[in-house]
C-alpha cells in the first residue's frame, strides 16, 4: 500500500501545532507562490488538480471557486466548514488539533485566489478543546505577521448536525436557525449576507497548500483518474486499531481495513461496513470484496463514499438495533423545516423501535419502504434522502434479521 501523506504529513510530529515546529517542517512554504501566480492562476491549478470537496459531497472544488466573482463589486468571503458531525467522522479534528497551521496556510492561499479579505471557520460547538488549539495557532500566525492580507475568525456552532450542510451553515452564521436554503437553478456562489461566498471543508482547504506548492499533476499522481488525490479515511466500531489514516483514492477497502486497522476486532468476521458516515447505505461483507475506496466505485456499489469515515460491524452485530440507532440520530437531528423529513424521520424511528421490541409486523417493513419513498427527493436538502438510502439498504440487505424478530 503506497504511503500517501498529503494532509497528514505532520500528524506524527509532536507539537506541530506550534508555529516554530510547523515551520521547521515546511509550513507556509507554499505562500511564496503568491508572488508568482495571479489569483486566477491558482484557481486554474486547483481546477487542473481535479481536487474534490472532502466534506462528503465530492464536488469538484475548482468549479466552485470559479463561481466567485473577482470584480470587487461586493466583498467575497471564505467559509471553512468544520462542523464535522457525521457519525463515524473525526478527520477534521485531527487537522485542527495536530496541524492547524496547514489549514491557516490553505486559507491564506484560498482567500488570495478568490480575493476574499475575511475567512470564517465554522466549528461545531462540541469541538471547543480543538477550537482552542486552532485559535492559538491563528494568534501565532497574526503575531508572526503571516496573517495580514485576510482575517480569520472562528465561529462556534452550538449542536446542530444540519449546520454541516453549507446553506444551513450560512443561515446559522447569519444568526438564524440552521435551516437549509432552496438551491438555485443556475450555478452561483453561496451567499453570506448577500455577498458571494465560498464554502469548503477543512480538509479540502488543507489540501490546497500541497497542490499550489507541487502542482496539479503531483496531486493527480495519487488516486484514480476520476477521484484523484487522497482522503483522510477513518475507521471506527469493531476494529482493532480505530483511527484516521490518509490513503489515496482507489485503495482496496478490505486491504485498507486490514493494513491500517489490523482487521476486525477480536479476530471476528466482518458483517457489514457503513463506508462514509451514517448517511451512506450499508454494505455487506460480500459487497466489500474487491471494492475500492473512490467516489465511482462506492456509487457503483449502490452506496456513497461520504466522508470516508468507515463504521465496521462484526458478525455479532444486531442490524435491527444498528438501524434503530441511526434513525434515532436522524429523528433527533432533522431540522424540522420540511414535512416529509420531520415526520418521516420520527415515524421510521418509532416503527423500527417497535420491530426491535419484537412487536413489528410484515406491514411495518412495507411501511418503512413507503416512508423511504416519501422522504426521497422531496425535501430542500439531502438529509431525508440519506435516511431513505439507509432504511432501504438495511432492510434489503439484512431482511432475514428483520423478519426474524417480527411477530
Amino acid at each position: 500500500m503506497r504511503e500517501s501523506k498529503i494532509v497528514s504529513s505532520k500528524f506524527h510530529i509532536q507539537n506541530a501545532f506550534n508555529l516554530h515546529v510547523a515551520k521547521e517542517y515546511g509550513a507556509y512554504k507554499s505562500l511564496e507562490k503568491m508572488d508568482i501566480y495571479a489569483p486566477q492562476q491558482i484557481i486554474q491549478i486547483i481546477k487542473d488538480s481535479m481536487l474534490r470537496g472532502k466534506g462528503g459531497g465530492g464536488a469538484p472544488a475548482g468549479l466552485k471557486w470559479e463561481l466567485m466573482p473577482l470584480d470587487d463589486k461586493k466583498p467575497n468571503f471564505l467559509v471553512v466548514n468544520c462542523d464535522e458531525s457525521e457519525p463515524g467522522t473525526f478527520k477534521d479534528r485531527q487537522i485542527i488539533s495536530k496541524d492547524p497551521h496547514l489549514l491557516i496556510e490553505g486559507i491564506i492561499l484560498s482567500c488570495y485566489a478568490i480575493k476574499a479579505k475575511a475567512a470564517y471557520i465554522y466549528i461545531r460547538g462540541e469541538y471547543k478543546a480543538y477550537q482552542n488549539i486552532l485559535q492559538s495557532a491563528i494568534d501565532e500566525a497574526y503575531e508572526a505577521g503571516i496573517l495580514k492580507e485576510c482575517d480569520i475568525t472562528i465561529h462556534r456552532g452550538a449542536g446542530a448536525y444540519i449546520c454541516g450542510e453549507k446553506s444551513a451553515l450560512l443561515e446559522s452564521m447569519e444568526g438564524k436557525r440552521g435551516h437549509p436554503r432552496l438551491k438555485p437553478k443556475q450555478k452561483e456562489p453561496e451567499w453570506f449576507f448577500e455577498n458571494p461566498t465560498l464554502v469548503n471543508n477543512v480538509e479540502t482547504i488543507a489540501t490546497v497548500p500541497f497542490i499550489v506548492q507541487n502542482g496539479a499533476d503531483a496531486y493527480r499522481s495519487y488516486g484514480t483518474e476520476k477521484s484523484p488525490g487522497t482522503l483522510l479515511f477513518a475507521m471506527s466500531g469493531h476494529i482493532e486499531r480505530p483511527g484516521v489514516y490518509e490513503a489515496e483514492f482507489g485503495t482496496n477497502m478490505l486491504e485498507y481495513i486490514e493494513h491500517y486497522g489490523g482487521g476486525v476486532k477480536n479476530g471476528k468476521k466482518l458483517k457489514a461496513v457503513i463506508p462514509g458516515g451514517v448517511s451512506c447505505g450499508v454494505l455487506t461483507a460480500a459487497e466489500c470484496e474487491g471494492l475500492t475506496l473512490d467516489y465511482e466505485a462506492l456509487r457503483g456499489a449502490g452506496s456513497s463514499l461520504g466522508t470516508g469515515g468507515m463504521i465496521i460491524m462484526d458478525e455479532d452485530t444486531d442490524m435491527v438495533a444498528a438501524l434503530k440507532n441511526i434513525l434515532e440520530f436522524y429523528h433527533e437531528e432533522s431540522c424540522g423545516q420540511c414535512t416529509p423529513c420531520r415526520e418521516g424521520s420520527g415515524w421510521s424511528d418509532t416503527i423500527v423501535a417497535r420491530i426491535l421490541e419484537g412487536k413489528g409486523t410484515e406491514a411495518d417493513l412495507e411501511k418503512l419502504f413507503e416512508l423511504a419513498d416519501i422522504m426521497n427527493g422531496k425535501t430542500i436538502c439531502v438529509f431525508a434522502p440519506s435516511i431513505s438510502q439507509v432504511i432501504v439498504s438495511f432492510i434489503q440487505k439484512f431482511r432475514d434479521e428483520f423478519e426474524a424478530v417480527l411477530v
Binding site: P75, E84, S85, E86, P87, G88, T89, F90, R93, A118, R124, G125, E126, Y127, K128, A129, D151, T153, H155, R156, G157, A158, G159, A160, Y161, S172, M173, E174, G175, K176, R177, G178, F192, F193, N195, A234, M235, S236, G237, H238, P242, G243, V244, I274, V278, G309, I311, M313, T317, A321, A322, N325, I326, E328, F329, E332, E333, C335
Partner: protein, 145 residues
C-alpha cells in the same frame, strides 16, 4: 434588564462587530458569551443580545431553542454528555450510560461527538473523555464532583 455583558465580553463584541458584515452574525457568539457568564441563557440575556444583534428577542429565543448546546434553564447538577451514536454504541456506550446512572450527575444522551475512533466517549465542560471504562469514570468524577 438585570443581565449585563462583562466588560471583557463587551470588548469582544466590539471586536467581532468589525469582523462581520452585519451585527446579526453575532447572535451565536453572544449566546455563547451569555451562557458562559450565567451557565444558561436567561430571558434578560435574550433581550440584551437582541439589542446587540438588531434581531428581535423572539427570533433570538427561536435560535436559542434550535441549538441543543444552549441551556435555557440553570443546570442543577454536573452536566455529562454521553454519546449514544453508532460507533460508540458498537463499542459499549450502553454500559457506560448504565454505570453513569448510579452517579449524582445530569446525563444528556447526545449524538456523535466526533470521538468515534476513541469510543465510548463523554463530554464534561467542553472536554472529551475517551476510551471510557467504569474505572475511568470513577477517577474523572472524583475530581469533578
Amino acid at each position: 434588564m438585570s443581565f449585563k455583558f462583562t466588560q471583557e465580553n463587551l470588548n469582544k463584541i466590539e471586536e467581532l462587530k468589525k469582523r462581520y458584515p452585519s451585527p446579526k452574525a453575532l447572535s451565536l457568539p453572544c449566546l455563547w458569551m451569555a451562557q458562559s457568564q450565567e451557565e444558561f441563557i436567561s430571558l434578560d440575556a435574550i433581550d440584551t443580545i437582541s439589542e446587540v444583534t438588531t434581531i428581535p428577542p423572539m427570533e433570538i429565543y427561536r435560535v436559542a431553542t434550535f441549538y441543543t448546546m444552549f441551556q435555557l434553564e440553570k443546570p442543577k447538577k454536573l452536566q455529562v454528555d454521553v454519546c449514544k451514536t453508532l460507533s460508540c454504541k458498537l463499542c459499549g456506550s450502553d454500559k457506560i450510560l448504565k454505570y453513569l446512572e448510579s452517579k449524582d450527575v445530569n446525563i444528556n444522551h447526545v449524538e456523535c461527538l466526533g470521538s468515534c475512533g476513541t469510543a465510548p466517549v463523554m463530554q464534561i465542560k467542553d472536554k472529551n473523555y475517551e476510551n471510557l471504562t467504569p474505572q475511568k469514570i470513577d477517577t474523572i468524577l472524583e475530581e469533578l464532583l
